[in-house]
Symmetry: D2
């Protein structure tokens, strides 16, 4: 490993968002930076000794001493930890060294209680879940903003007609309200999935191989929950047969571990896991899926905004600052572009996380390490997309006039489905279809209105009035259940309660 | 498009499982074959006309006529549909043609009611969800078998000690019960996710652009739920002003669509969606995630079995038929290999499905079509893995003697963590660590037992008895809370209630 | 594993293309069906014994007998092989059984020479490469058609002006010739990558662990290339010291293996590999990359066609059969939709193949098996996309009038960049920018032409003639080097020589 | 977008490698940091004005002035650019503003020549290719180290026998030399692919929509390569007909753009592209594939090292610093773990890059932006893996004794294939197979050597000497062509010439 100028290596090598404008400067970016991870790693170490102290496994002063040392965050430099992480493969090893040294300066007797019984993964997984919890909180708040803004938009445009488009072509009319409420339903689905994952994020504690054995080994003698093999330290050298612990002893000892996990989880604010999950990666896989879902849900919004704000379509536009310098006529849908860029990345990152489920041993050689950066990138990318989507949804400009104009550009062909249905009642289905097809062809060829062309169809002579034809060819009158669907969908609350 | 000999083109081009042994011949493969999809497509068409008939939108005989024609499944050839699907981009178009022709032969008046008001996607999405429901039922049954077998294994081996391995190296002891109950917890997590998705699989109905307009357009006059613009067909040519429907009329009409969706969902056995989801792909994305999870959950089991059945480790083996012909000594872990192959494929397929969330319009040009084959492949691959895992788990052979032997191959080093903890009480932590490190080095160099080497450490002279040392270096005595963790985890039921 | 009705299980479970219209009925689908793989597996077995016969390692009649038995392809049923593959994990094991039985019926003495010394992977990998070679040949022919058609289109429309669009907005003018020649350059890049991979597809031969040892073990005594330990069979029981082969002997023996590999490669029509590649998966990874590239290259063409054939844009349309039945006005870009669906799938499949590079042992437990189906799916999907792209490119309808109309919809704003440049010469850059921005704003507000608005800018009074303004605001006059770029790009030949 | 404390936002949000130990502190990390990208962006701007100056399109002093301003790199803060990039979607917009301001301070007349005629993508794509070129140079140097070290290892262990393992089980013997030379061949394949991509990395120049029009528009009048519409500026206001440029004029003008591209490419050190590639993403897609290949090639090495250094196998170990603190017996294969983590991530990142090929327009809304971060992450991750692999390969410890011991643990069964072959010559194939199978079963049951068991087989009585049996059951004597294959493979040079 070649290192250059380690003094400033953080600066020269850092990723500060230059290549990821979707998240640069957002709250989630900060909540998931290296600094936030270091804080969370320290918080996990403090939570552990606090839990041990609370159960009498460590002396009363140990927790306070470790917490005090950990509070001096300036002492724990992310870049330095990163550089020293490479030898052992994870940043907890150097962090423990630094933290132990810091504790030893002020409270030497407490130093032995830093990280006692724990394995690096206990701390790193717990810290990651703490970071995730914070980041998801921010993301959910932004998604709430998106949902609320879209609810307003959908209500306002409940009956605003626009072209429904399938396979790139005008199909039949729809309403912008129905489109907006559909975007919102996806956003609410995303919120529901992220909320579900967030509510069960577990702390991690298991020791070297997930048996909690070391935590029990370090329970001091004399403690009411003391381990059997330590409870009679003097006797142990003289009466070995006593060391065959009774079943009750063993059970009591084993419960020590479980109780410690619960105390630790409480101290971290995370859920207590049913089992140590060093190689049972449900939480991380679920996060991958929920984040991929969220990126796609917002990506649907962005895809439609991008399309509908095209120069030729012009039905939507983003609320933007000002004109571009080079081409003053351009008003790029910049937020939608960023969201779209996010939607293209996160599913692949989720694939890495799902792939890490299938991993051997009590700690897999690679699959665990492969999770860290993709999880962070997924959080940041979705966080940036949610931030951009909130601004997009809150500032979205709707242009009903352009919607109406576009509805008309097929000269009425967009309601040919309805015409066939209505005319079938009058002249039979076959004749109705023939007439509509013939008239449509003529209208397209001559650039006339479909209504005019229909009036020249012999089969329709004298069977339908001009006014009726006008009604039938009005796209705004053929929006089906759109209004009812919007009303029903809006009854779903903005945020999961 | 070049076609060759279409008569037998199904045979010459078919995928019958040759390259996917993980699923060849399984029930899920059959439940997801082209034939199953054709049946489901027909069932969706029948459900639609049944729903329409039940609401009086279609004459009483129409449903029976369509159902009768659809029942002659030999008439609907998957390969022929596939070939004709290419022009229009989906197989529903030729299916409707064939079904309409079949109905017309027996009940000409009913032919017009085939697919009335529907769009291809209504039928294809609904059929896919019906196929998914069936396939997930089979998968869940196999996962139940896996969970039940692993529960038995975990209970039986609750206290069977084995080496805990981290980053490929022996770390500290664990138990096989704890490992098996961990596998089971992942399988139960997979079942929970698949069950949740399965319980909400929605039918799809929206018409051309999701507004349900066409269904209302086709409601016959005179029907109590008739559409305003058709309720007075004669008057319509003379009194156009009457065509301005009252708000109440419109509302009644719009409810027609919503009621039809509910009737249709009931007829299909699927859930009624809150909104048409032609371009709101929550169900498909969720399926992708749940299936990727399941493949990974089973993949963890397979990864461990593959490792532990290695020639050098030999702690597990599959129950297999007989020796290989070429190399009689080999007993390949064939089922685990197949499961592992599945776990490598499904996350990528899920990524395609998550990627299809971000798609423009009321029907996207490509993103929808890109879902079909990956969803099927994911179902089949997971289905095959679940089938193989059931056989694997039910036939798994455990070799506690080899586990015990392997525990010993580091000569006691596997309990060095415990030794440091216990000796710290006697000689202080620093001296304890020094003594254990020194003895460990000597033991490794000389090939002796760690216990013997420890007895030669001056610092430990006279402070610890030989029996105590024997106890402390017994790996089986250092399994922490494994037993309690197994007991707690086994309280989780095998199948979601 | 539950099996149902194995007699007809091929029919009930088969994938015959129903869910993959992009490839249903194409030549590549047939070339990659199970039947094609079975033929290739048999061809690989025949090639092996032919090579052995040619070197004198097998009797002269063995090759003929095996070839004769293999020629009766009706005897080798893909579905039956698939079902029996599950136990051992691959279809070669049952194939060898069937082939050996077939040979034994006619030429019992030749039966022992079936598959002699080979491992299943030798045959399956070789067969896969034979299938790939055939499929790539078909794909390349279609790509040649695409490139040729696009060359014609680009030449014809070398100077057809159209709007250049960036981030969904009109930017500056471009030409359709430049766009078409860009599509072609991507297609040629795809051809070049596929051609490069195809030209080096290697046969696979290595025996059980890639050492070729078994092939040497089976070389009969008396053969000029005989193995040392077999050359004196009688002596071997009496004079063991003679069994210490000289270095020259060993070298001769080892060369036997290498020569066999070359003879085998010749017999298969594939390249001779430098090393057995059982777990060195360069060819498969390269295929993944080249196929993903091809799907994306065609996907770019499809993305643009989809966009430019939108109802509102209408600059391109596919040559299609006839109007849709339900909505006669619709002319869906069906081929582009299929190609777009392909482009969304293949990158993920390539990810699986790249992922299989990192695999342990001489034959990995899962990574190898995970390649088979994704490779086939990638071939078929790209094959279908290439077939569709050929039809698309050859039938593409270009509408220069719509291109010209769309160029004008910003009222001249699309050339604002040019105006700023030209006016800077006259009034300075700052004043030029101010004038253009001001006029553009007024033009957009009032719906007038930019040219008119510019004439009202005080700063421009008397400095520029009306004719000059007309010239400067003509989008067709601002297409830069488009023509030269088209000419240069067209010099690249359609197909790699 | 919420921003916090922008003064220190770089520090609080930065990724400095904490979660990616595989690359923390490596040269490639530094070469791909935000700072390196900023330097490359500035270099691209300087190259542009240099090219324009060299062709007389910009005054002589402009290039020097811009270069001088750009040299004050402290003025261009990556974090500030990142934060300001969000509005417009890319960091070039604020960079141009900063650079223009810097130039204006010293040489106001040169300010107008900054970024003249260019679009943001011209600069960002070019800068990315410059960064890639540097990073690939570093990666290739590390791969050369890996290949050289593995060549030495393979030569040294050309004939070191070890167990060949397939599907986790001992199959037949192989040599460590053959394994090592196989790793090397993959590494050389990776080098070849990266070298090929690196040698053609193109500069990007096209202006707003890839027509180069703006560059021509800005060519000053009087310049020998002046644009036609500017060559007679006075006449242009009086004689519009003269503005119809002759074909020769147009050609000359258009060539201006092409010549500028070539001069610009020369100034950047990159290749001149045949076409602007704003939406023809061949270079980026190729990079994705080559980097995924490289990660997998190194991943194969890591997968084998991880396996062979397992506690139970112990045939390899990494050269590491010292014992772990908690578990003194552990010597984790830390470098292999990091490489393995990389191999799990890069294929998914490559999938994003391949996916960006299929993108609409002259600049796609999202697909381009989605490339930046995954490309950087792929470079860094592969760079870190290559760095770790160099250390791993150069320090790899091989334990031939353990290889030999492991070869023996099946009691000779590993050569059963050979025994069947050899005994077939003596007693016929059927009898040989029966005898070996029977003896193998007995040996496994009784824990005896296969050789002993064979001696008790009646069929073999008196047909084979004990010495001959000893020879035949010696695994080291059954390594086939391993040696010859190693020799041949080593003839391939370490680095592409």
């Amino acid at each position: 490993m070649r290192r250059r100028s380690s003094l400033t290596s953080a600066d020269v090598s850092a990723d500060t968002g230059l290549l990821s404008p979707v998240r640069a400067g957002t709250a989630v970016e900060e909540a998931t930076g290296d600094a936030a991870y270091v804080r969370a790693l320290l918080a996990a170490e403090v939570a552990l000794v606090r839990a041990q102290t609370s159960l009498g496994h460590a002396p009363a002063g140990a927790a306070a001493a470790v917490a005090s040392a950990a509070a001096d965050t300036a002492r724990f430099d992310a870049r330095s930890l990163a550089l020293r992480a490479r030898t052992g493969g994870n940043p907890v090893i150097p962090l423990v060294a630094d933290l132990t040294a810091a504790v030893a300066e002020e409270a030497p007797e407490a130093a032995a209680h830093v990280h006692r019984g724990a394995t690096s993964q206990d701390i790193l997984d717990t810290a990651a879940m703490m970071v995730v919890s914070e980041a998801l909180g921010l993301i959910l708040a932004d998604l709430d903003r998106v949902a609320a803004a879209l609810a307003r938009t959908a209500a306002e445009h409940r009956d605003t007609p626009m072209a429904g488009r399938t396979l790139t072509q005008h199909a039949v009319p729809t309403t912008f309200g129905l489109k907006a409420v559909g975007w919102r339903s996806l956003v609410l689905d995303a919120s529901a999935r992220l909320t579900a994952v967030r509510s069960t994020l577990p702390a991690q504690l298991g020791g070297a191989a997930g048996t909690l054995a070391a935590f029990e080994a370090f329970v001091p003698s004399g403690n009411p929950e003391s381990r059997p093999d330590a409870s009679f330290p003097d006797a142990s050298t003289t009466n070995a047969s006593a060391r065959v612990a009774s079943a009750a002893d063993v059970s009591a000892t084993q419960d020590v571990g479980v109780r410690l996990v619960e105390a630790y989880a409480t101290a971290t604010g995370l859920a207590a896991p049913a089992l140590p999950w060093h190689s049972l990666r449900t939480p991380v896989a679920d996060l991958g899926g929920a984040l991929a879902f969220a990126s796609g849900a917002l990506g649907k919004l962005a895809a439609d905004v991008l399309l509908l704000s095209r120069t030729e379509i012009g039905e939507l536009s983003e609320k933007t600052g000002g004109p571009s310098s080079a081409m003053p006529h351009k008003a790029n849908p910049a937020r939608a572009v960023l969201i779209a860029s996010a939607a293209r990345q996160v599913p692949a990152l989720a694939g890495i996380l799902y792939g890490s489920l299938a991993a051997e041993d009590e700690r897999p050689p690679g699959a665990w390490h492969a999770e860290w950066q993709p999880l962070r990138e997924a959080l940041r990318t979705v966080g940036g997309a949610a931030d951009a989507a909130a601004a997009l949804a809150e500032g979205l400009r709707v242009h009903p006039r352009r919607m109406r104009e576009n509805l008309g550009i097929t000269g009425g062909l967009i309601v040919s489905e309805r015409l066939v249905a209505a005319l079938s009642d009058l002249v039979g289905r076959a004749a109705a279809r023939t007439a509509v097809t013939s008239a449509a062809g003529r209208a397209a060829r001559d650039g006339t209105e479909l209504r005019e062309a229909l009036r020249q169809e012999p089969a329709l002579a004298d069977v339908i009035s001009d006014d009726r034809l006008r009604t039938l060819t009005d796209p705004a009158g053929y929006t089906g259940s759109s209004g009812v669907l919007v009303d029903r969908a809006l009854r779903r609350p903005n945020a999961p309660s």
